[in-house]
Each structure stands twice: as structure tokens, then as C-alpha cells.
């Protein structure tokens, strides 16, 4: 059964994928969907509760919260997508380079990664923001710089794993070019892992962007951003607790969907060996049979 077929049978995974697709589309077509201009100030309408006119109410400056959440997709979600894409891509590129080159290049890349990894990523991000100054693009750069080394190491170790496989050795004996081997054997081998990690990384970057914006170090007003909306909600916490619900729930839903999708992808990937669908697998795991199957498989 192919990977996509298996994923299709996983209802939860598909639901999450659809949800994230809808979120992306809503972000792209935000100007068509949004009922109001997200930066339009109407102070006489401030802090309204949800109504037909304002589906999620208005904030402390009378801006439509629904429109702001929608346009927030463009900042939070799309910038996170950009950061994740570059991080994963550079991780994969350097990881394969390190895993496939011998000697000096590998040593330089790996030692450099070790040095980068000796900073905890949270501190690294703060340090980079501290130097470059607040701003959304700087957060994206900080996220990429602080995470690529980790992915490089991870990809490096899985490339090493695939290099010792017999079919790769066989191709080498046949004098296949390294590029051919990478394209034909290594990249397909690691692609599963990479996809799973990119969904998890995406969630991580969204949290990072929104928490830094919450602190005021990220997106600068009046651009709508989920974390910054929560920061604005904090100021009216005592009188209008509703303000913190729309942006908060949005972040929560997106993160949960990304995490579930990551799990589903992993399951769909791991079931290469035994032909159970993810649903059947979950049932088996529930019955306590799953572990036996896994151990049977690894013993072989």
C-alpha cells in the first residue's frame, strides 16, 4: 500500500491536512473573505462582543477581530512556512553534504554544528534578535540560524544509516555517480523523516514567532499577528477577557493540527513493513498487540 493510501485511511491525519489547507487558502484569499479592513480604526466600536457585523467582535481600537485573525495567517503562518522551509532545506543540504563527503568538509560542517548546538536555541534566538533588533524578518532569520545545525546533524545521521544499506553499496559497486545515488536512494529514504519533522518544526516556529511578537520583539503594529493580538488583549484582560479567545484558539488549533499531522505521517511512514492501515494499527496498539508486532519486526 502506498504512503498516500495509508495516509488517506487515517481520518484524523486527513482532517488535519484539510484544516491546514483551508487555513492556507484563507490566508491567501484573506482580502476577499475578511469583512473589514484589519487595520481600520473605529474607536466608537471598540471592544464589541461578536455580532453579525463583527463575527468575533472588535479589539480595543475597534478593529474587526475576525479580519485580524484572517490577515494574521499571512504574517504568522506564512512567515513560519518560510522559516521552516529554509531551515529544513539548509539542514537537508548540509546534512547530505556532510554525510556524503569524506574528510575535511564533513569535519568542518559537524564541528561547526556542535558549536552552534552548544547554545540553547531559545538563547540563540534572543541573542540574534538582540543584535539585529526587533522585527518579523529578523525572527525568521534567528529561527533559521538557531535550528539549521540541529537538522543538519539529524539528516547527517540518517544519511549515514542509508549509506550502509546494501542497495546503496550495490549502486556504488556499479559505479553509479554520487548524485544519482543521492537522488535515487538517499533522498527518498530520508524524505519521510524530513516531512514529519517539518510539520513539527512548523509548529515550533509559529510558537516562536507569536511569543516574540507577544513580547513586542516581532511584528510591529499595526500589522495583524496572533501573538501581538494576545499582547493587546492582555492590557484589557481585567475588563474584557473575551479579547484573548480568538487569537489564542486559532494558535491552539493550528498547533494541534500540525502535531496530529506529524504523528499521522510518522505512522503512515513506519507501517511500510506490516500492511495494517493506521486505524487498524491504533486498534492493535490498543489491544496490546502492537508492541508485539513491532518487536517481531525488529527481531527479524
Amino acid at each position: 500500500m502506498s504512503f498516500f493510501k495509508r495516509l488517506q485511511q487515517d481520518k484524523l491525519g486527513i482532517t488535519c491536512l484539510l484544516f491546514l489547507g483551508v487555513v492556507s487558502l484563507a490566508g491567501i484569499f484573506a482580502p476577499l473573505i475578511a469583512p473589514h479592513d484589519p487595520t481600520l480604526l473605529q474607536v466608537d466600536m471598540k471592544l464589541a462582543m461578536p455580532s453579525a457585523e463583527y463575527p468575533l467582535g472588535t479589539d480595543h481600537l475597534g478593529r474587526c477581530l475576525f479580519s485580524r485573525v484572517l490577515f494574521g495567517i499571512r504574517t504568522t503562518f506564512f512567515y513560519a512556512l518560510l522559516a521552516m522551509g529554509v531551515t529544513i532545506f539548509s539542514g537537508v543540504a548540509f546534512g547530505i553534504l556532510a554525510g556524503y563527503s569524506n574528510g575535511r568538509v564533513r569535519e568542518v560542517i559537524l564541528r561547526f554544528c556542535d558549536a552552534m548546538l552548544s547554545f540553547p536555541s531559545e538563547v540563540m534566538i534572543l541573542a540574534i534578535i538582540g543584535i539585529l533588533g526587533p522585527g518579523i524578518m529578523n525572527i525568521v532569520i534567528a529561527n533559521i540560524l538557531s535550528k539549521w545545525a540541529w537538522y543538519t546533524r539529524m539528516i547527517y545521521s540518517s544519511v549515514q544509516q542509508y549509506r550502509s544499506k546494501n542497495y546503496v553499496k550495490f549502486a556504488q559497486v556499479h559505479q553509479a555517480s554520487p548524485i544519482y545515488i543521492m537522488r535515487k536512494h538517499i533522498v527518498p529514504g530520508i524524505s519521510g523523516e524530513v516531512t514529519t519533522h517539518s510539520t513539527l518544526e512548523m509548529g515550533w516556529v509559529i510558537l516562536s514567532i507569536s511569543s516574540l511578537s507577544f513580547l513586542g520583539l516581532g511584528v510591529q503594529p499595526p500589522a495583524p499577528e496572533w501573538g501581538m493580538m494576545l499582547n493587546e488583549a492582555k492590557n484589557v484582560l481585567f475588563t474584557h477577557p473575551w479579547q484573548m479567545i480568538p487569537a489564542g484558539i486559532t494558535i491552539l488549533l493550528v498547533i494541534v493540527a500540525l502535531n496530529f499531522l506529524g504523528d499521522s505521517l510518522q505512522q503512515a511512514m513506519n507501517s511500510k513493513s506490516y500492511m495494517a492501515s493506521p486505524k487498524q494499527q491504533r486498534k492493535l496498539f490498543r489491544l496490546g498487540e502492537g508492541r508485539k508486532m513491532v518487536s517481531d519486526h525488529t527481531d527479524r
Binding site: 558549536a115 547554545f119 531559545e122 534572543l126 541573542a127 538582540g130 533588533g133 502535531n259 496490546g288
Partner: protein, 310 residues
């Protein structure tokens, strides 16, 4: 064992040098001239002459490596420079900000250890029954919430709605509860999962089967499972201490907790580079030392690794 410890300590020296060097480079990569900033925050118009004399005063015209050496020597002697903004020594500011952060991190660690161990054990006892699935689902949901949102929700419910706890600031022991709980929630899910899975895995080990066959009491068998499961969790707890201290940034800012995270964010807003530099240096050193200690403790605990280390 002694040899291993010496070898590990010797191994951290180049790493420390490298990290301090990186911190120094990072801070020197900034686009703006520190002499100009130092003048601006004191509201002196930066004319060319004044900037030049300030550059000499701050020693900015020396070659790069000499500046690095000077900075390192100063840092070792505990002089981390003076803040551009309020002209106080950075060391003084750090000394005021570190204890609250350590208090917060300590309280958080206690909450994490207590809840992750107890929930992990409950989950493993009720493996795959509704109790287990409910608890895991709940923890999963908590982990997906951004910490600043949980902080706001908790603050609203417990401080505003119920009025039980103070909203923010650091006055009295009750004010630590909300920040510590908020901070611990992000870490909880990893540890619960870790302990639960370790427990479940260990119950299937041969030595547990043997213990059961010997007819040992249920509680003794459980203790054997637990003490074997806790080891890898211990490493993870140790590793999370620097993460905890670094992770206080958001929580400290929500609850106006006067710690180093807040100090650092304030410094970033003011482009107060000496403070940022000191923060980075301190965090990097802390991270390396914690990793070193954890590695040594793990080798001391685990007999298999001890043999390998020899």
C-alpha cells in the same frame, strides 16, 4: 571514574572558549556603532570628535583579537561592563535579577518532577484504558497551547475571576504559583510521555518477569520498574534546567517577574549591548556546565556506562 571526569572537564575548555568567542563575534556583528549608541542614550549629539574619543574610551579601535582577550579577562574578573542605559555595572543588575529567576526555575522544576512522575505512573498503570488516554490527551492539549496564552488564561481565571492569587509582580510566596505553573506546563508533556513509556517498556523486561516469578510483593516489583524507568528521565530533567532558565523569558514578561529574562528583553528594546552580551555569555556557560554535570551524574548512576567510561 576520576579519569572520565577529568577528561570531560578538559573537553569543555575548548568548547567554552569557542562559545565565548561566538558570543563575542555575535555581539560585534551588530550594524550600529556602540560608541554612537553609548552617546545617544546619554543624549549627547554624536559629532565625529566625540564619537572618536568615545571609541578610544571603550577600546573599540583595538584589533579584534585583543578586544576579545580584554573582554574575556574582564569577564573572568567579574567585570561585565556597565549598562549603556542606567550606567550601573551589568554585574550588579545580574546579581539582582538572577535570584528571582532561580527561584522561579526551582519552583517549576519541583512542579514538573512531582506531576510528571505521578501522572506518568498513573498512565502506565492504566495503560491504554480511558484514564490513561484522558490524561495523555489533556497533557497533549496543554502542550499545544502557547505558554503566553496559558499564562493569560490562568491569570484571568485565578487572579481576576476568582481573585485567589496576585496577578503579577513578585510579592509574597503566592505570587510564584502562577508563573511556575505556566512555565511547567510546556515541559510536562514530554516527561509524562517519557516516564509512561519507560515504565511500560520496563514491565516487559526479563528482570521484572524474574522478580514476579520469585513471588516478590507487587509494590517491590513496581519499585523495581520505577527505579529503572527514572534514569533516562533524570538525564532529561538535568538537561532541561538551562532550558528552563532560558524559557523564563516569556513567563517573566507576562507576570512582571523581576528576573533575567525580563532584563534581557528590556535590554533588547534599549539596544543595551553590554547587558545582552552578559546574558548570552551567562546562558552559554550555564548550558555547558549543566550538560557536563548531567553527563557525569549519569555515568555515576549507570553501571553499564561506568564500565564503558573506564
Amino acid at each position: 571514574m576520576k579519569q572520565y571526569v577529568i577528561k570531560r572537564i578538559a573537553g569543555t575548555v575548548p568548547l567554552l572558549l569557542l562559545v565565548t568567542f561566538l558570543a563575542f563575534i555575535l555581539i560585534n556583528l551588530r550594524t550600529s556603532d556602540p560608541a554612537e549608541i553609548a552617546l545617544r542614550v546619554n543624549q549627547i549629539t554624536p559629532t565625529e570628535e566625540v564619537v572618536q574619543s568615545m571609541r578610544e574610551e571603550l577600546g573599540l579601535d583595538d584589533p579584534f583579537l585583543i578586544r576579545y582577550k580584554n573582554w574575556m579577562m574582564d569577564s573572568f574578573q567579574g567585570s561585565l561592563g556597565t549598562s549603556y542605559v542606567n550606567k550601573k555595572p551589568v554585574l550588579e543588575e545580574l546579581r539582582q535579577a538572577i535570584p528571582p529567576t532561580l527561584e522561579l526555575a526551582g519552583a517549576t522544576l519541583i512542579i514538573i518532577v512531582f506531576f510528571s512522575v505521578s501522572i506518568g505512573i498513573i498512565c502506565s498503570i492504566f495503560e491504554n484504558r480511558w484514564q490513561d488516554r484522558f490524561l495523555r490527551g489533556f497533557i497533549f492539549l496543554l502542550a499545544a497551547m502557547p505558554s503566553f496564552w496559558i499564562g493569560l488564561l490562568l491569570m484571568w481565571y485565578f487572579s481576576v475571576y476568582l481573585g485567589w492569587l496576585p496577578t503579577s509582580g513578585k510579592n509574597g510566596p503566592s505570587s510564584i504559583i502562577l508563573p511556575a505553573v505556566t512555565l511547567s506546563l510546556t515541559f510536562l508533556s514530554t516527561y509524562v510521555r517519557l516516564i509512561r513509556n519507560n515504565m511500560i517498556q520496563n514491565t516487559q523486561e526479563n528482570f521484572i518477569l524474574y522478580a514476579k516469578l520469585r513471588g516478590l510483593k507487587q509494590s517491590t516489583v513496581m519499585w523495581k520498574v520505577f527505579s529503572n524507568s527514572i534514569q533516562s528521565a533524570l538525564t532529561a530533567f538535568g538537561m532541561s534546567i538551562p532550558r528552563l532558565i532560558a524559557g523564563t523569558v516569556v513567563v517573566e514578561n507576562i507576570f512582571a517577574w523581576p528576573g533575567i529574562g525580563r532584563l534581557c528583553v528590556k535590554a533588547i528594546f534599549n539596544s543595551d549591548y553590554p547587558v545582552i552580551q552578559a546574558y548570552i555569555l551567562m546562558m552559554a556557560v550555564l548550558f555547558i556546565i549543566c550538560n557536563l554535570l548531567v553527563d557525569i551524574v549519569v555515568v555515576m548512576i549507570d553501571p553499564r556506562l561506568r564500565r564503558e567510561a573506564k
